[in-house]
């Protein structure tokens, strides 16, 4: 009977198959997206201008030469997207984990192949959240969802959904590192209390592990060594708390999900929180000597640096200023043909019912099914973590 390893499982996931990159491929994809969107913007603005001129002044037929539009750079796009990811987390404080985390990843994935110049993140945000409530089994009716959001209509939420799912290439599963962290946390606690098991080839006994942990160098910057098993437990809890916070912010806002596996991400978050402890954990997993360990440590090091470099979930004044500048710039380089998402959505829907299905029958069946579905999910009601009112 085969035992599927976590890695086996991860390797078949769409997150791995479709949404894993290296830094170069990520940048090249974003550049392509940016260039193609910029081109679209120029073409659309040009067409708009041409139309205007034709209407207004036949006499001045040369018109002014089309002036070059100043489009967003890849870097600017990125800053803007990250900012709206932060907004998504705030905006969605009524959505429990993992809904908000998934919504953020949806936005990050969507903007790999779409530019904010074409679709403004502000408009994609509610849709990403709503889709995440559905994919993460936190579904609540659109009506009640909308009632929890400031200045948002049902149409605003649903209209971009189609674009969003297309941008997600119809993959909805997001693998988060949080569960792995919890597992590692439990393992560390077990090791600290003398109940641990080592990796298959690591000969240390539970008490040896326990002793090693007392002797670990202090966490970053600290100078006090733990003196007792109890202090070690406290230390693990502190590290766990910090790592968890990192997973909720930096891990989501950076490109960590695109570049690393969930295991690598949570281990790196532990690295940032308490490097000696993280190294100890890795050591406990590997026989010595091991050729894999250095490779892993290098990876964890670069991932930890990425996490440390994250934009703040709480932007400073200077950052806000920069964001405002970008947003202002965006105002002038948005693709005018793609602004009215609700309108575009309606038009597309009108376009066709290609095959002569019996619409009524389908409708009726669908309604029935939905009714029972709703009944089923409605019982979640307040358990969705949505505070009523406001």
């Amino acid at each position: 009977m085969p035992q599927l390893t976590e890695d086996d499982l991860y390797r078949t996931s769409t997150q791995y198959r479709l949404w894993s990159f290296n830094r170069e491929s990520l940048l090249s994809l974003r550049s392509t997206t940016n260039e193609s969107a910029a081109e679209g913007v120029r073409a659309a603005l040009h067409a708009q201008k041409a139309a205007e001129q034709e209407q207004s002044s036949k006499q001045d037929s040369n018109g002014s030469p089309p002036q070059e539009v100043d489009c967003l750079s890849v870097g600017e796009e990125q800053k803007l997207v990250v900012f709206y990811c932060v907004q998504t987390m705030r905006f969605a404080d009524f959505c429990e984990f993992p809904t908000n985390a998934t919504a953020v990843q949806y936005l990050k994935r969507f903007y790999l192949s779409n530019s904010p110049m074409t679709y403004h993140p502000k408009e994609m945000m509610p849709s990403a959240l709503f889709l995440a409530t559905k994919t993460e089994n936190h579904y609540t009716s659109l009506k009640s969802f909308v009632s929890k959001l400031p200045k948002t209509t049902a149409e605003d939420v649903v209209a971009p959904e189609f674009l969003l799912t297309q941008g997600l290439r119809f993959t909805f599963d997001v693998r988060h590192p949080h569960r792995g962290l919890e597992g590692g946390f439990m393992e560390l606690l077990a090791l600290a209390t003398g109940k641990g098991q080592s990796g298959p080839n690591n000969g240390a006994s539970p008490t040896q592990f326990q002793k090693q942990m007392v002797g670990l160098d202090p966490a970053n910057g600290g100078n006090k060594k733990s003196r007792s098993a109890k202090e070690v437990v406290q230390r693990i809890q502190d590290a766990h708390g910090k790592a968890k916070e990192i997973l909720k912010t930096s891990a989501l806002l950076t490109d960590a999900y695109f570049l690393y596996t969930p295991s690598q991400i949570w281990l790196s978050s532990l690295f940032v929180a308490d490097e000696p402890l993280a190294r100890f954990y890795v050591d406990s997993k590997f026989p010595t000597p091991s050729t894999m360990k250095p490779t892993l440590l290098t990876t964890l090091g670069t991932c930890a640096n990425l996490l440390r470099s994250s934009a703040s979930a709480d932007p400073e004044d200077s950052e806000v200023k920069e964001l405002k500048r970008i947003d202002k710039k965006l105002y002038k380089c948005r693709n005018p043909e793609k602004i009215d998402l609700v309108g575009i959505n309606k038009a597309q829907k009108r376009e066709g019912h290609e095959d002569g299905l019996d619409e009524k029958v389908i409708k009726k069946r669908k309604l029935e099914r939905e009714r029972s579905e709703k009944e089923a999910e409605d019982i979640f009601g307040p358990a969705l973590g949505i505070k009523d009112g406001k």
Partner: protein, 403 residues
């Protein structure tokens, strides 16, 4: 374990492999957006990359004729444009008719889980694309030989024995095991959702009710699984449950394969529970500690309590499976979900290696008649005709204390 050495090492080196994949995406992108070669396509409103990829996928397939219709989808026969002899099933989901909340939960679940699960006994999802009017299309593996329900029902035309049952149950067992290893509950296992490939392989299909169960503290709805295949904990309104619900369904499918009629076929949820009590035994604190705390638990008079049925009772009805097979069946139908065997335990059971050996899939009995006949079969969907699928998410039991 959270991180095996192999996991991380492989994963690290995998980034390179992945990079190639990424590159291929990027390269494609480049070639698509290469102005010198193909400028005109873009001009129609500046198609974004995602839109182009979708278009590309869509163009790969051709829809032929309609195969059948389910509650929320129409299924067509189709083929790869590049290979007219290939066959696929294209399941078209209507997204935009009435449902005000965007993409429906059914569609989302089906796509979400099929995208992740790749196993010989789970229907393969080859691709997904949307057509112009925002319909979602799932390109599925074409499974031309109907489903297990058809075979079970055709007791005149189709004869089979223990070796065949063993083959089918083995395939179902592997499918369910794989789902559970991936932390996915299917929640609608029944003969009609077990489709059959041209080579006789059984494939678990219809993931419209699936969900992941990786978070043990999240409430779940008990309104799942078609009634006849629904375990007692769900009938009692349990809000926390596990893979054991699918295992119960497997047990009832196993029994049905042998009996050739549904094993426990209640008319209502209450009736279903009554029949379970009769067939298996009355759930009590003794045989199922904690059962009385379930929201929908109904106390039973001592006198009315049916003791848990012993092996002799099963041997009398399911003796053809042999004593070892009966052990397996009983382990799937344990009242207490904690005592029910897991999918893994099922696959490790002695029955598979006990004689007779499972029939090779090529030699399994097949529904005759080909496509035309199948169309007719689709119209009669016994047992469920009056209910329709809408009822599969069963009516709420009126147990009073519902929030």
């Amino acid at each position: 374990m959270a991180v095996s050495p192999v996991v991380t090492y492989e994963a690290t080196s995998n980034i390179k492999v992945t990079a190639d994949k990424a590159k291929s995406l990027a390269v494609r992108t480049n070639s698509i957006s290469n102005q010198n070669e193909a400028p005109p396509e873009k001009k129609q409103g500046g198609q974004e990359l995602a839109e182009r990829l979708n278009h590309e996928t869509k163009e790969k397939y051709v829809k032929d004729k309609k195969l059948g219709e389910g509650t929320y989808a129409i299924v067509y026969l189709g083929h790869l444009k590049a290979d007219p002899s290939s066959k696929v099933a294209i399941k078209k989901i209507k997204v935009n008719t009435e449902y005000r909340d965007g993409l429906s939960m059914d569609a989302i679940r089906e796509v979400k889980y099929l995208q992740e699960l790749s196993h010989p006994n789970i229907i393969a999802l080859h691709a997904v694309f949307s057509s112009k009017n925002q319909n979602l299309n799932l390109v599925l593996e074409f499974l031309p030989l109907g489903d297990l329900e058809m075979l079970i029902k055709d007791s005149e035309g189709i004869r089979y024995g223990t070796a065949e049952v063993k083959a089918w149950m083995g395939m179902l067992g592997r499918a369910v095991w794989f789902c559970h290893e991936n932390f996915v509950l299917h929640r609608d296992i029944k003969p009609n959702n077990l489709l059959i490939a041209a080579d006789g392989e059984v494939k678990l299909a219809d993931f419209g009710l699936a969900r992941s169960f990786s978070d043990p503290y999240r409430l779940m709805t008990y309104q799942v699984i078609t009634r006849w295949y629904r375990p007692p904990e769900l009938l009692y309104g349990a809000r926390f449950y596990s893979g054991a619900v699918d295992v119960w369904s497997m047990g009832t499918v196993f029994a049905e394969l042998i009996l050739r009629v549904p094993f426990i076929a209640g008319n209502t949820d209450i009736h279903q529970l009554e029949l379970i009590c009769q067939a298996i035994g009355t759930p009590t604190e003794e045989n199922w500690p904690g059962v009385s705390k379930l929201e929908g638990y109904v106390g039973y008079e001592k006198a009315a309590t049916v003791p848990v049925r012993g092996k002799d009772v099963y041997l009398a009805r399911f003796g053809t499976a042999g004593p070892v097979g009966v052990d397996l069946l009983m382990s799937m139908l344990a009242l207490d979900p904690r005592k029910r065997s897991t999918a893994r335990q099922i696959l490790e059971h002695k029955w598979w290696t006990t004689d007779p050996r499972p029939t090779a899939k090529e030699d399994l009995p097949k529904k005759g008649g080909g496509l035309e006949k199948m169309g007719d079969d689709l119209k009669r969907r016994g047992g469920e005709v009056e209910d329709g699928r809408g009822d599969k998410v069963a009516r709420k039991l009126n147990f009073g204390t519902m929030k």
